[in-house]
Symmetry: C2
Subunit: 211 residues, 2 copies
């Protein structure tokens, strides 16, 4: 089992490697990747070793090879379908973002309490009323969901998802969700991100990138 933080770094390395590949680079040294990722070369080498990949001392890592190596660990065996809860502005942005962007992840269905949205197709994704959630999740064996409902509805939404069998949640609502053990939640809080950026740009100004 690779640690939480190592997975985050591998995901970042892959993003950076794809950029390097896009710039026509075929090989990259651990110190170069480390500089891009904002960590140490030793850290990069440990993370890459942990996934069983290795480079050549003379040329560094093969960029495409390492992208595939990380994918073999990070990516599910087959494309993943997820569902979206809430088709307000943020929900639409998420649909637009994931629609066609990657073959790996598809938003298969979206749910909203607003009956006007039911059965509409938004950015290529069909919307359903909440009543159909449990049946659809079970029939399609969905494991992950994105929550983009208002804060006041988020916990009830999470309860329903967990009841339906969802095991992983990306939560955009600005509050902490209570979920049963075994369900993995990651929060994206845009207000907290802006808070940090304002703080550091004023108090601690220094060039810095976080994943």
């Amino acid at each position: 089992m690779i640690s939480d933080k190592a997975i985050g770094r591998l995901s970042l390395y892959r993003r950076l490697l794809r950029e390097s590949a896009g710039n026509g680079e075929e090989y990259i040294f651990s110190h170069e990747l480390a500089a891009l990722a904002g960590c140490t070369p030793a850290q990069v080498r440990r993370d890459v070793m942990a996934i069983g990949y290795s480079g050549s001392p003379a040329k560094g890592y093969d960029v495409q090879g390492l992208i595939s190596g990380i994918g073999a660990v990070l990516d599910p065996r087959k494309p993943v379908s997820v569902i979206l809860m809430g088709v307000g502005n943020l929900g639409r942005a998420i649909l637009s973002y994931f629609g066609g962007r990657t073959q790996q992840y598809t938003v298969l269905a979206a749910f909203d309490t607003d009956p006007e949205k039911a059965n509409r197709v938004i950015h290529g994704c069909r919307c359903y009323p909440l009543e159909q959630l449990i049946d659809l999740v079970k029939a399609q064996e969905i494991r992950e969901a994105i929550i983009a409902v208002p804060a006041s509805e988020a916990q009830a939404t999470a309860n329903l998802l967990c009841e339906a069998g969802i095991r992983g949640i990306v939560n955009f609502a600005p509050l902490r969700l209570w979920v049963p053990k075994g369900v993995y939640v990651e929060n994206v809080d845009m207000a907290m991100t802006l808070e940090r950026v304002v703080y550091f740009s004023r108090e601690g100004a220094r060039a810095k990138v976080t994943g």
Copy 2:
């Protein structure tokens, strides 16, 4: 100077404290706040001590007092105006999210290369053509910007922002930006977040919340 990670935790504590306050709680012990935040009580006590706040051993921290104490460190002295680059779906979602949500942060102006968007008001925010960026940033003394343009335009957008004097950037485009020293960038990458959630919900299933 409080560390990067401590600032992130303080911002999370405040979010959790606001929820507690919303539930009518007046006091909270460090071990309770630690359980909510997913860290140790000792960590909470160190972070709170670092901002010069203290609780009572018998009752814990005063919830409202600690919210104010964190605000005194995190929040700028006066409300902050930021600008938004890119008024596509994601940009609109950001405008909708920040519009009226908080008095602390306002998206004062949005910029888009699409001339059709210039001078429109979207979610209460006026859109301008790019040519007006530098003048507006200087006149209004704007320091922070949110980038919500496509990846292919993100670096050129960042260059323009830095030239205009922007010192802090929240970057939603899925690539790393090169910025001059002294400019603080934080990336929000929704694809990477979903990647981690899928990985952990399948491989390492355990209840876990990250800030």
